[in-house]
Amino acid sequence: MKSRKAKVFRPTAFSFPYLAVTLVFVIFPLVLVLVYAFRGEDGTMTFDNFIHVFSEAENLRQLGATLGIAALSTSICLLIAYPVAFILASSPFNKMAILSLLFIIPMWINFMLRIFALQSLLSMIGVNKSYFSAVIGMVYDFFPYMLLPIYTVLSNMDKSYVEASRDLGAGPVKTFTRVTLPLSLPGVISGISMMFMPIFSSYSITKMMGDANTTVIGAKIANLFENQNYGNYGYGSALSFVLLVIVIIVMLIGSFLSSRTNKAPKGGKA
């Protein structure tokens, strides 16, 4: 009994600093956003801010444009990253050294600096700021986030699945479509969510890489807060809140899909 009392440290104690940080820097700001979103100029609770968000056609257009740019960048990134991950994971290239050299070291450089460098390079070869160059910026910046989860899944995949497939009569192509690809879907889905969500709420890349027409919803929110107009806080918070809900929905779809692909479909017969 005595020894029990003497035990000051419990393993859970190590989570306290993290909890404190989360409370102060994550939970508290979220609550603030929520409060501002539902608070009128006179300080009473109101839905006015949300009505404002949905009544302005420009907001919906920008939300659509943001979804579009996020979806396009993510798709392009996936199409490039999957083959690269596949080659890196296949035996002769399966060396973490190559991987880190080519794809992780650029991440050590500040991302604004990288984007700035990319923008200079593009303008050097004559590519002007446009929707297109903004997408290039997104793909460039988020490529490692797409590559790593797919690479991890592919390189950890038991080779005997591929062998079993070949053994049962599937050629290399059918083995890929029927075994390797379905088994690597969890990596693809986590890659998509790691890229889609930050792109959806980011605005600095589009601001630097895109032209005036390439505005995203994140830029508008930033604008509303930066203008120092206290009345815009409620409007901006409501907009952020809508963005948050959309991201949560996308996340839920992602986790639902990945849990489905990990399980055998129910219901039996071929």
Partner: protein, 504 residues
């Protein structure tokens, strides 16, 4: 798709060829001179093997002996460095795995986790093309109904009739094992390859699956090639056991013969428990070991040829009291093994392992009797140390990184020579400095009247030494050679390279 007609033609052509080959021999698989080298390590060394149609063949050996590599070469997951494999007379080393008429049950089953039991089993069937004269291309795919019927039949065969809809991860190890078997046999392969399929199961499950696999083999009538390191499993299940060690086949025989007449000391030691001794053949039907001459059933050895002797522990007749048998001894320990007692008996300075239904307590004075047909006599694997060296001066020969004093009459300085050093010509010294070269003791086996010690030199060579002293493992010792007992032979490097017949 233009090629597909051609492809079917080739299939038919090879089938015709195959049927010709079948008439010639009944071997479904012929492995000819297969060598496999991984990163400079020879895993299989010029191995040849024929497997008869419909047999249950077990590849047995310790881990790392090359048995799984051999199986993977047959399946097509690896290509041999040298040699050719024939299935029904058709060379297949350049045929990719998905076109070979074999299916594999993998060690860890490799069931597809994204598919349920039914879809796992149906995987191969959905890809299968069957000849059909009415179809445009001469073949067609199986229909849904056909697939369903075949899958259900296969699942029934392995006792999982109602498990089609189950998630493979929800099954027990034994059930996963059965699904893996069903998935392989549903494709109706000519040869089923099983890579240590029972290794992950508990003992009781393993025993059950052994019986079931054996029964499946009888029902299906196809050839099974089964890889295991478990000698009991091999003996229980197989028609033929192939014992492999260091990439070389040690013996191919029926289980009973493998057990009763092991072809060498390795097989004897690996299969079951045994007493392995050294002896000399005095004449036909008479063997001398541990200082006694005993009758045996073997003949055809040279007079006084040194041989290995294997005596199975259950073949030794043990009786209380001295003077009833060939050796008098004392029981050192006794252990109950479930259905018998196992005793260590010290007799003539050798520790015999003896099994008996009756318990002989520790300390009992006993007699051991060994009947002639219990003594299995094998040629010694190695009877002399052989090295390649160079004459460096008068009566000086360099081998294993040291200059030894050996008479060099008839040779001149700079000659390459083969140096034959008998086991009794080598002398070990406690102090490394007293020997010509240093070496580490790697093995010390008591062979009845003397110790056979093996030392490993710094130049990667082995010396076998017969000595009356016991040497401790890993001891650093010096090696000296009595040059008068050594024989030299001229060594022609080029000729030797051609003549050297690798053993198989």
């Amino acid at each position: 798709m233009d090629n597909s007609n051609k492809a079917t033609e080739t299939v038919i052509a090879t089938e015709n060829k195959a049927s010709v080959a079948v008439k010639k021999s009944d071997n479904i698989i012929e492995i000819k001179g297969i060598t496999k080298v991984f990163d400079g390590v020879t895993v299989l060394d010029n191995l040849s093997l024929s497997i008869k149609r419909g047999q249950f063949v077990t590849l047995l050996g310790p881990s790392g002996c090359g048995k799984t590599t051999l199986l993977r070469l047959i399946a097509g997951f690896q290509t041999p460095t040298e040699g050719e494999i024939y299935i029904e007379g058709v060379p297949i080393t350049s045929v990719p795995p998905h076109k070979r008429p074999v299916n594999t049950v993998f060690q860890k089953y490799a069931l597809f986790p994204h598919l349920n039991v039914f879809k796992n089993v149906a995987f191969g069937l959905k890809l299968k093309k069957i000849p059909d004269a009415t179809a445009k291309k001469g073949y067609r795919k199986l229909t849904k109904a056909e697939i369903e019927e075949k899958v259900n039949r296969a699942l029934k065969l392995v006792g999982l009739a109602d498990y089609g809809h189950r998630d493979v991860n929800s099954l027990s190890g034994g059930q996963q094992q059965r699904v893996a078997i069903a998935r392989a046999i549903v494709c109706e392969p000519k040869v089923l390859l099983l890579d240590e399929p029972l290794g992950a199961l508990d003992l009781k499950m393993r025993k059950e699956m052994q019986i079931e696999l054996k029964k499946m083999h009888e029902d299906l009538g196809i050839t099974f090639i089964f890889v295991t390191h478990d000698q009991e499993e091999a003996l229980t299940m197989s028609d033929v056991v192939v014992v492999i060690n260091d990439g070389v086949i040690q013996q191919i025989a029926r289980p009973k013969k493998i057990y009763d007449e092991p072809s060498n000391a390795f097989v004897a030691d690996f299969i079951g428990e045994s007493n392995i001794l050294s002896g000399t053949m005095e004449k036909d039907y008479t063997i001398n070991f541990l200082g006694r001459s005993l009758a045996c059933v073997d003949k055809g050895f040279e007079k006084n040829e040194r041989v290995d002797i294997v005596i199975r522990p259950e073949d030794i007749v043990i009786t209380t009291g001295e003077g009833h048998g060939h050796f008098n001894g004392e029981v050192l320990s006794t252990v109950f093994k479930g259905t018998y007692y196992e005793m260590e008996v010290l007799a003539s300075f050798y520790e015999f392992t003896v099994q008996s239904q009756k318990e002989f307590p520790k300390g009992t004075k006993v007699s051991l009797e060994i009947l002639p047909d219990s003594i299995h006599i094998m040629k010694k694997m190695l009877t002399i140390n052989k090295y390649i060296g160079e004459v460096t001066g008068e009566n000086r020969v360099e081998i294993c990184g040291g200059e030894f004093e050996i008479p060099t009459e008839g040779f001149s300085s700079g000659d390459d020579v083969i140096v034959y050093v008998p086991f009794n010509a080598v002398e070990l010294t406690d102090d490394e400095e007293d020997g010509v070269i240093g070496a580490n003791v790697t093995q010390s086996l008591y062979r009845g009247t003397y110790y056979q010690v093996q030392v490993y030199t710094d130049t990667d060579e082995d010396f076998y030494i017969d000595t009356v002293d016991e040497w401790d493992m890993d001891d650093r010792v010096g090696v000296r050679i009595n040059g008068d007992l050594v024989r030299l032979e001229r060594y022609d490097r080029e000729k030797e390279a051609e003549d050297e017949e690798p053993q198989s």
